[in-house]
Each structure stands twice: as structure tokens, then as C-alpha cells.
């Protein structure tokens, strides 16, 4: 167990318990975790805060997992943590800043359409792709 030094609240350290890790894996199999600590994935307009207190002044990046299915999104690049090899691979597939992609679905994985290509990306990976804006823009606005 891990204990909070401030309030004494205990939580499980899943890295130190095989059973806890098994349970955690089972839970994560059935329940999709939010893409960031403050919002559920899905339409931004429908998101709700998990805390009543005001959020810390931290800039939350909009990513592909935040784009509702059926919408188009203009890409803004990648989050810093994404390895360069993966970034280069995504760019080769056409995921380039300022391009529009069409988000087809968000579960069980994120499925997007870029040009004539359909790609399926795991939520964690889609959460690394920054989005500048979301909108039902027409295809002729591309680039």
C-alpha cells in the first residue's frame, strides 16, 4: 500500500502486488480510463469535471481522443512524450500538423480517416496527437 503523507489516505501500489495488478488489468479491460485526469474522453461539450474544486492552472491539451465520433479535427502536432520513431511513422501515415482528419469512432479504439486511409489507434496513442480545433468542416477546407 502507498500512504499519502498529508491525509493518510492509502491506495494500492499495483506494481508491488500481483493480485492487484491482475485486478487492475481486468478493470482496465472493461472500463476505459479517461484520457486526462479531469475529463472523460468524448465530446468536450459533454465533459464534466471529476473534482468540485477549481482545477489547477495547468494547460490541458486537446487530443484526438477528445474528438467526438463523426467530427473532423485539425491536427496540431504531437505531445512531447511521443518517441520520434512513432512520430515519424504517424507522419508517414499522413498525420501531419494542419491536416484535417475525420474521427469515425472512439471505442473500442480510435478509428480515423485521413484521405483514403482508415487507421485504428489505441486510445493512449490517440491521446498523444494534439488537435488544434474540432469542427464539422467540409472536406474542401483541407489544407
Amino acid at each position: 500500500m502507498v500512504c499519502c503523507p498529508a491525509c493518510g489516505y492509502q491506495s494500492v501500489d499495483v506494481h508491488k502486488s500481483v493480485l492487484a495488478r491482475l485486478a487492475d488489468s481486468l478493470f482496465s479491460f472493461f472500463i476505459r480510463k479517461p484520457s486526462n485526469p479531469y475529463t472523460w474522453p468524448g465530446n468536450r461539450a459533454q465533459t464534466f469535471p471529476l473534482h468540485r474544486a477549481p482545477l489547477p492552472a495547468k494547460r490541458v491539451e486537446l487530443t484526438l481522443v477528445d474528438v467526438p465520433p463523426g467530427s473532423r479535427a485539425r491536427l496540431a502536432g504531437f505531445l512531447d512524450g511521443l518517441p520520434v520513431e512513432r512520430r515519424v511513422q504517424l507522419q508517414a501515415y499522413g498525420l501531419v500538423a494542419n491536416d484535417w482528419v475525420h474521427v469515425l469512432q472512439q471505442a473500442p479504439v480510435t478509428v480515423i480517416q485521413i484521405g483514403h486511409t482508415e487507421l485504428a489507434l489505441e486510445g493512449k496513442l490517440a491521446g498523444q496527437i494534439k488537435v488544434e480545433r474540432i469542427g464539422p468542416e467540409k472536406p474542401d477546407e483541407d489544407r
Binding site: 500481483v18 495488478r21 491482475l22 488489468s25 481486468l26 482496465s28 479491460f29 520520434v84 520513431e85 512513432r86 512520430r87 515519424v88 511513422q89 504517424l90 507522419q91 508517414a92 501515415y93 499522413g94 501531419v96 475525420h102 469515425l104 469512432q105 471505442a107 473500442p108 479504439v109 478509428v111 480517416q113 484521405g115 483514403h116 486511409t117 482508415e118 487507421l119 485504428a120 489507434l121 489505441e122 493512449k124 496513442l125 472536406p139 483541407d142 489544407r143
Partner: protein, 662 residues
């Protein structure tokens, strides 16, 4: 020291091959097949080509073509992409044929730029032109030719369109006069490296020194390994110094800087060439495609597909067809005639027994192979061919991702796992499409442990269908549970992170009947070549053991395990013994025992679970050793064998405790 002309290749071998290179799933293998007349595995999903196929071009005398695994971009990411990268550096090549998807021009061009930089004669086949036109894509081909300075041919390979022009272009291809300008610092580093690397060090590759320098600066592991093998340690250290110093000039990693330069160029060319981008996929195919990855509808479709597979292979193949072949054809017609003939012609009883006795090469080995296994594998390969040509398999990767995340993998692992239902040996090779060594090892273990090949699956389905649906569910549930537990534990024990899913979903297409039929026949032929010798060897072994009295000794020795622990009749020892050669051979032995009324429903389920979890076959153990190493292969065998008997014994006790199937 000598300086090369930067863009010219070090050595173009006039007797070398032409390599077909391109993104995955763009039709390279179809073009290869059309140009050489050779049949290679083709499917509507990426990763079909995991090994190189070579063949003589029919219309280009003396020219060898080489089909390579698809590559998205260089540096390569997976083991199969590395195969392609190694072809470019290590093989004597006289040219390249890039096959690109006409619909996805930007992605195609990104690879074209990298291939053009290699300095080898290059021809671009813009394939799938029919699909591009159907979607309203219009390309200005003359502008493309002008910008890239290479020959570009529009093709629709599946219908043979444009292939004559392609052959002519290949015959007259020249090294492209193409040079993309990179930032000044990178250009200076390339010039510096070109000046340092001597002729002798570079003459073994057809690739231009400039391209080699760019690959190495972009941290291409294949290029790095190639340089390490050929440069002196001082020269290699100097290269590393140059790269490290160059990196200081940029905020972004060099790989990203080089890629950005190429992307900007590709964008400019694409903007000039694409006159109409066309509409995305629409219609029934697109809608059905989306349903197949929908959480609810996708699962329903998957269950329907599995049921259809069960019915076609298990009920029709293993039931109806096997009944017709085993009882009517072999049992009533062929075998009596052969037995008669042998007994009349062969004067020695022992030889006659070897051919047509209880453990006879014909009455057991050939009958098992042709009457019992052949109809099952043929129906499975037919069904599998339809599934793979329809483009359904990559959608399974998206649908099953969460399951594989639980196993420390990602949904891409479903491709080798489903292929394993066809043949575990082939599927072990296909693990090359997975990105990390850890993932390849995990999937190899799961394939060897809990994925039955088509032959075995058919026998198992046939036997269980003869018992009850509950028997099938118990078997499937136990095998699946073992797969989950072993997979999860292995994922926890094996160090390393899993990679995140990224997979292209090809359009759903109506399978081409001729292609499915050709593939089925090719696979059945391959199966017969692999299986029949093993079946005959297994039968001969049993015959020898029987004659020497050792079979009874083996059965007696196996009795505590087979009868005491698994609760099976002692004769089942012989089935497990031949199961060491092939699981399906062992399963067939148990099938015959069931038809003779020697197994009750409980014993059928226990026997099927145990033989399913057995080591797959000698051939797949050899492939595991080749792909990984012997230590890994033997460790897997050492884990799998006791586990199979442990699970079988526990199941026997569990079923006996609840009183099921006695």
C-alpha cells in the same frame, strides 16, 4: 581516400535483381505474381509477405524480381520492415519497382523520395488506379514524372492493366536525377561523411553514399549495422561524432528534421499533382467496415463469423465430408481394394502389415492424412481465404485490442493468432509484423501453447460436435482461460513495455473467387507436403514399437499419467506419443478411439483439452528455434508439456467432481 559523386550508387549490378518495394497492402505481391507467374500468398491485410519471394520476370529475360514486405517509411519499425531495408543494402540490385496506392499519393511519394535518393533505377507503379478513379481521384501524371524524374506507370494489377507498360518501363529505367536539399548543416554532414568513407567500404552496396549517410543520420538501425560491419572502428566512431555534433544544431531529433524536409517536398508535389482528391470511402462496404469495429455490432459480427466457421469446418468439413471420405470412400472402396492388392502381391507378411496392417502406412498414415485431415484443412483454408481477402482480419485487431492489452500486447497480435488457426508454423513467421522482440516472444508462446492449427481444430470440432455444445464450450473455455492466465503471467515476467496499437484498416472487399481458390489449393498442397511424410514417419514408428513390443511398454509406462492422472484409456498413450510429431496426428488417433466407442464424453473433453495444449508439431518447434533460438524453443516445450497434462488432469478431476460426462 576518395569522394563519390554523392547521388550515384556505389555499384549497380547488371545481373542483380529488381526489388518490389512499397507500403503495405498496395498490391506488390499481385504485381510480382503477374510479372513472374509465381503464386505467392496475397491477402487484404498488411504483413502477408514476411519473407522474400524471388522469381524470373517473364517478359524481361535474365531479370530476377524480388517481392519484399511492405514498409511505411524508413527507418524501419518492425522486423518485416527491416527485411526490406536489408534488401536495399545487402542485395545486389539493378533497380527498384515501387508499388504505390494511387489513392494515397502523399504516403506513396514519401517513400518514393527515399527510394529515389538511393540512386538506383526506379519505376513507380501507381497501382489500384480503378479504386482511385471510382472515388474521384484525378492525378496529373506528367507533372509527377517531371518532378520526380522517374518513370511512372498507372496500373490496376488485379485486372492486369498497365503491366505491359510497366514491363517496358522496367526495361529502360535509369537512375533518377533526383536530389532533395536538406538544411545546410545536414548537407555539410553528408558531404563530410561521403569524403570520409572510402570506396572499398561502400562498394558492397548498390545504394548511393548520400542515401546511406541520410539513413545513418536518421538512426536507421539496419544502416548502422551495415556501417559497423564495414567501417573501421575509428571511422564508425567518427561517424557517431559527426551525428552527435550535427544533432546539437537542431532542437528536433535528426530523424524528425529529415522527415519534415521530405514531407514539405511531398506536400508541394502532391499539391501540384492531385487535381481532385476524391471522396472518402462510402457505400455499403464502408458502412459494413465500420460496423465490424463497432463495440456491439462488431462483437455480434465476430460471433457470427466464428459460428459460420464452426459450422463450415466443424460440422460440414469434419462431419459430413470426413464421413463421406472415411467411411464411404476409404472404408468401403479404397482401403479394401488396397488391402486385397497388397495381400495378393506382397509375399512377406511383415511388409504387408507395414503397408495395410493396424499401424499400416496406408491404412493409418495415408488414411488419416487424406480421409480425416484433408477435408478439414481444405474447408478451413477456404474459409480463411475468404476472411483474409475480405479485409476483415485487421478489423479484428481493432476489435480485440483490449483483450491483447490484458496479455501485454496490442490488437495487432490477433493477425498471427488467427493465422495460427491455419498453421502455427506459418503464424510463427508472421510474428515478424509485431514491433518488439518481447511481443514476438509472447505471441510465439501463446501460439505454441493454446492455438490449435486448422487440422487439429477440425478434428477437435468434429469430436466435440459429436458430444454436445456444452463439451465444445468447456473445451473452448478452458483453453481460453489457459491462454489468458499464461499470457498475462508471461507479460508480467517478460521485461519491456508493450507497443501501442496502430494499424491500417483496408477497405472491405468482396473476395475474388479465383484468388481464394488458388490460395486454398496452394495451402493444401503445402500441407500435404509437410504432413504426409510426418504422418508416415509417425505410423512407421508406431509399427516398429508394436512389432518390438515396445508399444505395450510405452502404454504401460504412460498409464499412470494417461489413465491415472487424465482418466483416459491406456491406449490413449499411443495418441499422445504420435502427438509429439503433430498435435493433429495425435488428435486423429483420439478421434478414431472415439469412433470405436473407447471414450466417453468426459474423456473426449479431457483428451481434447490436453492435446490442444500440447506442443504443436516438430516443424513449428524448428521454426521457433530458427526465429528465436533453440534455448527459447526448448524452454517453451519444457513449459508446455507439463502444463498440458496438469490442466488436463485438473479438468478431469473438476468434471468428475461435478459429475459431467461420465
Amino acid at each position: 581516400m576518395h569522394c563519390h559523386s554523392a547521388s550515384q550508387p556505389a555499384q549497380i549490378d547488371p545481373n542483380g535483381s529488381i526489388a518490389l518495394v512499397g507500403n503495405p497492402n498496395v498490391g506488390k505481391s499481385v504485381i510480382f505474381q503477374r510479372l513472374t507467374g509465381q503464386q505467392v500468398a496475397i491477402a487484404n491485410y498488411p504483413g502477408t509477405t514476411v519473407e522474400l519471394a524471388r522469381g524470373a520476370a517473364r517478359q524481361l529475360p535474365g531479370t530476377l524480381l524480388m517481392d519484399t514486405p511492405g514498409v511505411i517509411t524508413f527507418p524501419p519499425h518492425s522486423q518485416d520492415e527491416q527485411v526490406t531495408a536489408r534488401v536495399l543494402l545487402y542485395e545486389p540490385l539493378k533497380g527498384l519497382l515501387q508499388v504505390g496506392d494511387a489513392k494515397n499519393l502523399r504516403r506513396t511519394l514519401l517513400l518514393t523520395v527515399q527510394l529515389a535518393e538511393l540512386g538506383l533505377p526506379l519505376v513507380l507503379a501507381l497501382n489500384m488506379m480503378d479504386e482511385a478513379e471510382a472515388r474521384g481521384v484525378i492525378l496529373n501524371q506528367p507533372v509527377l514524372v517531371e518532378r520526380l524524374a522517374i518513370q511512372v506507370v498507372a496500373t490496376t494489377a488485379t485486372r492486369g492493366l498497365g503491366l505491359a507498360e510497366l514491363t517496358a518501363a522496367l526495361g529502360s529505367a535509369c537512375p533518377p536525377a533526383f536530389r532533395l536539399a536538406y538544411p545546410a548543416e545536414i548537407e555539410a554532414a553528408i558531404a563530410g561523411l561521403g569524403a570520409c568513407w572510402s570506396v572499398g567500404e561502400l562498394e558492397e552496396t548498390p545504394v548511393a553514399p548520400r542515401a546511406l549517410a541520410l539513413m545513418a543520420l536518421a538512426s536507421d538501425q539496419v544502416a548502422e549495422a551495415w556501417l559497423r560491419e564495414r567501417l573501421t572502428s575509428a571511422a564508425y566512431e567518427e561517424f557517431l561524432d559527426v551525428r552527435n555534433t550535427l544533432q546539437l544544431s537542431f532542437v528536433e531529433p535528426l530523424q524528425a528534421v529529415i522527415q519534415t524536409t521530405r514531407l514539405e517536398y511531398v506536400d508541394r508535389v502532391a499539391a501540384e499533382v492531385i487535381q481532385a482528391a476524391g471522396l472518402g470511402r462510402q457505400g455499403i462496404s464502408a458502412r459494413l467496415g465500420r460496423l465490424t469495429t463497432h463495440p456491439a455490432w462488431g462483437t455480434l459480427i465476430l460471433l457470427s463469423v466464428l459460428y459460420a466457421l464452426y459450422w463450415f469446418v466443424g460440422v460440414f468439413g469434419a462431419g459430413t465430408l470426413v464421413g463421406l471420405l472415411e467411411n464411404d470412400l476409404f472404408g468401403n472402396l479404397i482401403n479394401p481394394a488396397v488391402v486385397n492388392l497388397v495381400n495378393r502381391v506382397v509375399p512377406y507378411q511383415i511388409v504387408a502389415d507395414l503397408l495395410v496392417g493396424e499401424y499400416g502406412l496406408w491404412t493409418m498414415g495415408m488414411t488419416y492424412a487424406f480421409a480425416l485431415i484433408l477435408p478439414i484443412v481444405a474447408t478451413f483454408f477456404l474459409a480463411f481465404g475468404v476472411m483474409e481477402d475480405s479485409g476483415y482480419l485487421p478489423r479484428l485487431a481493432a476489435l480485440s485490442n483490449r483483450l491483447f492489452v490484458f496479455l501485454g500486447l496490442n490488437g495487432k497480435a490477433v493477425l498471427p493468432m488467427v493465422l495460427g488457426l491455419g498453421c502455427v508454423t506459418m503464424a510463427t513467421l508472421t510474428t515478424r509484423v509485431l514491433e518488439s522482440k518481447r511481443e514476438r516472444l509472447l505471441v510465439t508462446l501463446l501460439l505454441a501453447l493454446a492455438v490449435p492449427c486448422s487440422a487439429q481444430l477440425g478434428v477437435v470440432m468434429g469430436m466435440l460436435a459429436g458430444v454436445s455444445l456444452a463439451a465444445t464450450l468447456i473445451w473452448a473455455g478452458v483453453v481460453f482461460a489457459v491462454l489468458l492466465v499464461v499470457g498475462w503471467l508471461s507479460a508480467q515476467l517478460l521485461p519491456g513495455e508493450r507497443s501501442l496499437l496502430l494499424v491500417e484498416l483496408p477497405p472491405l472487399r468482396l473476395p475474388v473467387f479465383s484468388n481464394v481458390l488458388l490460395k486454398t489449393l496452394a495451402r493444401v498442397e503445402w500441407y500435404l507436403k509437410e504432413v504426409v511424410p510426418l504422418f508416415l514417419a509417425g505410423t512407421a514408428l508406431l509399427f516398429a514399437l508394436d512389432r518390438t513390443g515396445l508399444l505395450q511398454a510405452v502404454i504401460r509406462a504412460g498409464e499412470p499419467l494417461v489413465s491415472g492422472w487424465l482418466g483416459l484409456p491406456p491406449e490413449a498413450s499411443a495418441a499422445f506419443l504420435i502427438g509429439f510429431m503433430r498435435r493433429d496426428f495425435g488428435a486423429t488417433g483420439l478421434f478414431v478411439m472415439q469412433t470405436q466407442g473407447l471414450l466417453n464424453p468426459q474423456q473426449v473433453v479431457v483428451a481434447m483439452v490436453t492435446i490442444t495444449l500440447f506442443i504443436p508439431c516438430i516443424a513449428s518447434v524448428m521454426v521457433i528455434a530458427r526465429e528465436r533460438n533453440w534455448r527459447t524453443a526448448l524452454s517453451m516445450v519444457a513449459l508446455i508439456l507439463p502444463l498440458a497434462f496438469l490442466v488436463g488432469g485438473l479438468l478431469y478431476r473438476g468434471l468428475a467432481w461435478i459429475g459431467w460426462g461420465t
